[in-house]
Amino acid sequence: MNPQQQAQSAAASTERSGDPAITFAGYDTEGFYDEVFQDNGRPRSDAELLVWKINSLKGGELLRRQRAIEQSLLRMGITFNVYGDEQGTERIWPFDIIPRIVPSDEWLTIESGLKQRIQALNMFIHDIYHDQEIIKDNILPEAVLANAKAYRAECHGIDPPRKIWCHVTGTDLVRNSDGQIYVLEDNLRCPSVVSYVLQNRFLMKRSFPQIFEASNVMPVDDYHSRLLEMLQHLAPDGVSDPTVVVLTPGMYNSAYYEHSFLAQQMGVQLVEGRDLAVKDGFLYMRTTRGFERVDVIYRRIDDDFIDPQVFRSDSMLGVPGLMDVYRRGRVALANAPGTGVADDKVIYAYVPEIIRYYLDEEIILPNVETYVCYDEEQRNYVLANLDKLVVKAANESGGYGMLVGPHATDDERKKFAGLIRDNPRNYIAQPTLSLSRVPTIVGDHFEGRHVDLRPYILYGEEIYVLPGGLTRVALRKGSLVVNSSQGGGSKDTWVIAQP
């Protein structure tokens, strides 16, 4: 649908009257863990007010509010481009008005689990780019590191400011049918979509002001202040009022909206590689008055593209010489180059050991059980159980390079068996999870749809977890794939404050 049609249909629907009210009457959890309703069909205690309010809305009112939010998203230009479409079709990322609600005690566990995880992963990354003690102590096999695609030998020996590597992380969490919350992925490289968390909340507050007031939802609005403070914390020694910039690949990048939004909210310049230049060992940006020094870069460009002299020489997005300035400690980069190594799904399998090794603690938020095909015994188990498992390539994200065994054809399973045998290091497998669900508007009624949760963690002077995060929802019936490129949408996430 093109934006014009969307705008028209949204406008038309606001004028419809006499629509039946959408209520939770007859809503069925179908045996899945539901984030809003208990198994007995009663709302969970933190959701009672929301359920009551929605059940009491006039006919057509809920849809009207949903459409008003969609209309605002289009108007604010919170859209992504559909590639290969000459009409320049823009779409909004589907949004569903029913939030996910996270009880306060559960949030405390999530928060402490994420802090623990990020602290340990940061120590791990620092270690593997220095003395590699975790390998010397036989916790992590050397071969795993040697074959990690995102390991950057160029970063060896670098001491990033304050020894922080993973400044911004968007960890993906899922709840399985057992009710337990698991960490699915870490996403330590420029995770995106935090802007949706903030904008979804802004629009939801406008739609349901009374519920917000009564529900004691924790605010997310100070994310950009926290982000700016974290970035300022990284300033080179002796710089008291650092110049912070956001580095974007440009306006044709699918996350461009977010880059400009964060720069705007922090009140800093949004720069492209062509705005920057290196001279005499320092980094400068081109302004109307000449060149001005830059101290801290929140970069939204992958490692491979940030400096053609060090990484991919064909990159037009980066800044020649940037890594040299960085190495000399004259500019800070967030996240630090090389951080992506900990996103490797084989290394993910070692996180419980990593936490034990560096912190001498047991993991708080468990990993999903993971079979590493690199290990012969585990590989054999995977090959014998392909119809039950989800197989993932170690270095892909966004739902690509994946086999969902129970839903795959024989041919697809055979293909993956071959891929695993050819390159066992590159694959892991996990049991198929039954993700929890949240009621979602489908036509004129509610149906449960599977969700995950991506909270955001900032590592500056201290580790901060944004209370909430992006709830991604698989809008297709029965689907477990929440990625925006594959039929996913988003919801607001309400973390309830401690009473």
Binding site: L74, R75, Q269, D275, K279, G290
Partner: protein, 323 residues
Amino acid sequence: MLSRVADSIYWMSRFVERIENLARLHEVTRNLQLDMPDEATDVWQPIVNITGDHEYFAKKYGVATEDSVFEFLTFDSEYPNSILSCISSARENARSVRETISSEMWEHLNDVYFTVHRASKDPSVKENPSDFFEQVKMASHLFKGITDATMSHGEGWHFSRVGRLLERADKTSRILDVKYYILLPSVQDVGTPADSLQWSALLRSVSGFEMYRKRFHGLTPRRVIQFLVLDRDFPRAINHCVIAANESLHKISGSDATSFCNSAEQRMGQLRSELAYILVDDIVNKGLHEFLDRLQSKLNSIGDSIYETFITMRPVDDVALVR
């Protein structure tokens, strides 16, 4: 301010001003046609000539008619200076500086973009384009109002003002030129009621009729020219635009208004003093069309100097470092 950002703000603002003036140009031509004593007079080809893109037009549309010129100036997505193309360009420039302009400015431009796109698919717009052109003009006024009321009047705002005023000065000169082109074949009409009707139509097209009346009362070609070229106070008069744009250039550089510190200020200052001291009789006696032609190339060269001075990507070694 980043050079790239200054450039985008300047062009964002120019393109918005351009759509407003395209609407005005089209309206004045329709009005002139309605008032023409001789129905055979071709009013549409002169409009095409004024754009300077007559070759493109001839190739794509052939004969200039009301319909073909409407299509060309309004919804031709292949022609970079149609209203549709200009609002797209304005929006793309705004998108690239969303973090610098206010959200209100961006959201308004985004709205206008969707409005123009919807209109381009609505056959009733062509039947009676006046309402649409009115909408376009108001969208431009609103954009300027939002800009003034929500963006700090610092460097970025001044770049936006320079862009808008240079564009407006250029377009006022072209709208004035319409009269020259259309009148040329019928010199005997000068001073007739038809002539007077045309001058008032022209004034109305730049929202200048009422203000002109207050200033001069009686309608004569010389006074109309004096009003639209040399008036200091009327906001669409060329002299007013140049005075205000000159002021903004000095705010950007911080230099003394009586001197210059870059080529943009130097060229702007020259034009500013020419307009301050020239008499309307000099313009008319030497030929209005020739005067306007030279004026347009001076405005172009000021635009070039702004690019050279503030925007162009010089190698890092050439330039002094600020900090």
